[in-house]
């Protein structure tokens, strides 16, 4: 179980670190902790892997990466780990997950995300992906994003969690 103070800290930093000289001191003040404690807790959470990364979260679309595609494959369950790991090593992939199939309406179990500057570029990277990971035999689909209605960090409601 996660320490309640860690959880409060995560909730506080999740909204974004203050852009100010001593951001961790400001967070500490808000939570009634001290700066050293905030820094050592965040360092530990990162080392433990609960925080996967700490840093700048960019808005791809705004930075010229207008084409964002979710690519989904139907691969055999026994091969999925091996395939997923191989896909993850391609530089243009920035997410790769296994999710459950949902019968005929959704036959796909492997999800990855390609951000590119144009549709053509994304489609070219998809061909590269299929070829380099030997996925020719499997069903797939590509879902380009059209508009973003909402993007922000998860908000954890700390109060209800013990």
């Amino acid at each position: 179980m996660i320490d309640p103070t860690d959880l409060q800290l995560i909730a506080a930093v999740q909204e974004g670190l203050p852009i100010a000289s001593r951001p961790y001191a400001l967070i500490a003040e808000q939570l009634g902790l001290d700066e050293t404690d905030v820094i050592s807790r965040l360092s530990r959470l990162k080392k433990q892997g609960l925080i996967k990364r700490l840093g700048v979260i960019v808005k791809h679309r705004r930075l010229g990466y207008q084409a964002n595609a979710m690519v989904v494959f139907d691969v055999p369950d026994i091969l999925i780990k091996q395939i997923g790991q191989r896909i993850s090593q391609l530089t243009f992939i920035n997410l790769c997950y296994q999710r459950p199939r949902q019968g005929e309406q959704w036959p796909y179990n492997l999800f990855c995300m390609i951000h590119g500057k144009s549709r053509e570029k994304v489609l070219q990277q998809l061909s590269e992906l299929i070829e380099s990971c030997a996925l020719e035999a499997y069903g797939y689909d590509i879902l380009f994003s059209r508009q973003c209605f909402k993007q922000r960090g998860a908000i954890y409601s700390v109060a209800q969690k013990n």
């Binding site: 974004g16 670190l17 990364r53 700048v56 780990k81 969690k161």
Partner: protein, 162 residues
Amino acid sequence: MLSELHKHLLNDYQHDFPLSPTPYLDIANKLGVTEEAVLAAFSLLSEQDFISRIGPIIQPNLIGNSTLVAMAIPKEQLLEVATLISNIPEVNHNYEREHHFNLWFVLIANDMEQLSSIIDQIELKTNFKAMQLPLVEDFFINLGFQLDLDSQSNTQPSALSA
């Protein structure tokens, strides 16, 4: 136009934002500029919506329960349903995608019970099915995303609202 400093801040600090009392000063020293310049550059990136925040990415499902959800909504009702979804505090990403399943969002709740109850409410309020695709396994290794900011064409401040 993004300066060299902006490009460094966007690309170099996605993973390991300094965990020291004065992270912006550390970055400034590394890049050979003043702390004020780094603070001003981050403020601009944030105001102009090039970055979402400086913060942590949390390992999915270690805190609470999350799921990806897909819905198939007729075009003329999409905006209305998407707005309703975006207004749910537990939703953090919400996108239109080009597919029969055209609305995709991520839902994070404190526990399974709360998650199911939100899904039920969504189905009740919209009269459309919400297909849940919770994470089974995360394969992603290559964290972060190397942005190519040199051949930019769409990154003028306020060039677009997407």
